[in-house]
Symmetry: C2
Subunit: 228 residues, 2 copies
């Protein structure tokens, strides 16, 4: 029953904190390669990122890329290995649901193609939006999604609807054969096993920032007036 020890050299499942740090390394490596560095050490990367080199070493180990003692990693090889590991080599076509302000914004951002994602069409429940084109991509009514997704073999869906609609949309996406959901709504979507859901809710990030900032400012006010 348990075939986790099967013959195939399946890369082990990387811890999520490590996975989240990889894109940062990719960004740095691109810069270093641009500067002509043939090889990089974790020590160097750690200095540049202000981060413990040991942690970087462990993160890289989890991707299966090997380095050379005393030398470090071949820059190009490491960069290729990481982008490969992240799945950024070949882009997947994706559908976006919710052609509001955020959805429009994401449609207009080209950069995702460098990260393996190509949004090819948008969908909305509002019939008035159907037929339009946003940043060169067609907008359809939500009704068309299931059919088109199946025909085109779409496997990734981007959810930029209001929170209240997100779960319903997620259910539709799953029923349409989508296997990965990039969710921008501030809710935790319920998805079946085998479907991946990554939350990118900006309000979460913003909450952290605003709270931490308020904390800093409060701290400062308290330190300011020295005891008499």
């Amino acid at each position: 029953m348990d075939n986790s020890m099967d013959n195939a050299p399946q890369p082990k499942k990387i811890p999520e904190p490590s996975l989240r740090r990889l894109p940062l390394y990719v960004s740095l490596l691109r810069e270093l390669r641009g500067q002509g560095l043939a090889s990089v050490s974790c020590t160097l990367m750690g200095e540049r990122l202000n981060q413990d080199p040991t942690q970087i070493r462990k993160d890289l180990a989890a991707t299966g890329v090997a380095g050379k003692p005393r030398v470090g990693f071949d820059t190009a090889e490491l960069l290729a290995g990481l982008t490969e590991f992240l799945g950024w080599n070949n882009t997947s076509d994706a559908f976006l649901v919710g052609a509001g302000s955020l959805g429009t914004a994401l449609l207009g951002h080209q950069g995702f193609r460098d990260n393996g994602l190509n949004i090819v069409a948008a969908f909305d429940i509002n019939a008035a939006k159907a037929g339009a084109t946003i940043h060169g991509r067609p907008v359809f009514h939500l009704d068309k999604l299931a059919n088109l997704a199946r025909r085109m073999g779409i496997r990734i869906g981007v959810v930029t609807t209001p929170a209240a609609a997100a779960q319903e949309v997620a259910d539709l996406l799953v029923a349409s054969g989508i296997r990965g959901i990039w969710n921008f709504a501030p809710v935790r979507l319920q998805v079946p096993d085998g479907v991946v859901c990554e939350n990118a809710a900006l309000s979460t990030s913003l909450g952290v920032l605003v709270n931490r900032l308020a904390w800093e400012l409060r701290q400062e006010l308290q330190d300011q007036p020295p005891p008499p």
Copy 2:
């Protein structure tokens, strides 16, 4: 020297994982309040969010809001407490740097005002963009930032520049009196003590999704052909 034990009832610094879950609770509570629920228990919230109730209880405890045994939390009170804790009650004016596709996108998104953020102007190094208006907000040349930020008492900066420019922009923001940076560039910004930096790099989130999805699909392929 150490005045961390001072008299003021300073809320303790909440663990980051807890802080990151709070916006989710806010979202759920808004929905439940809309349904007319006067009080909510962690049990109920846990069911709705598919999450351990104990964890929710601990997260809420960190915010200082108190519940009633056997009853739960007063919905309105809890919601108010969380939004207060997150700093979402009064919005702060903010500057955005980097009027590219993502920056334009963020300028067009109204929703941030509900999360305590109001972007009032954009800045760009490209002189050709200065003078324009994006979604009703003026665009200035980067040169004007320091002066305007000081005059207006701006404390939050949003960085949507390319990775290569982000650190330089961050330095400028800090020098201009900004105390909180919301960074969308895939780099780790160096900021002095007392300045808060929250990374919202979408490529990170996208990397996680694409990698996990690839992993699922690979898993599936392996399980598919049963051994002969």
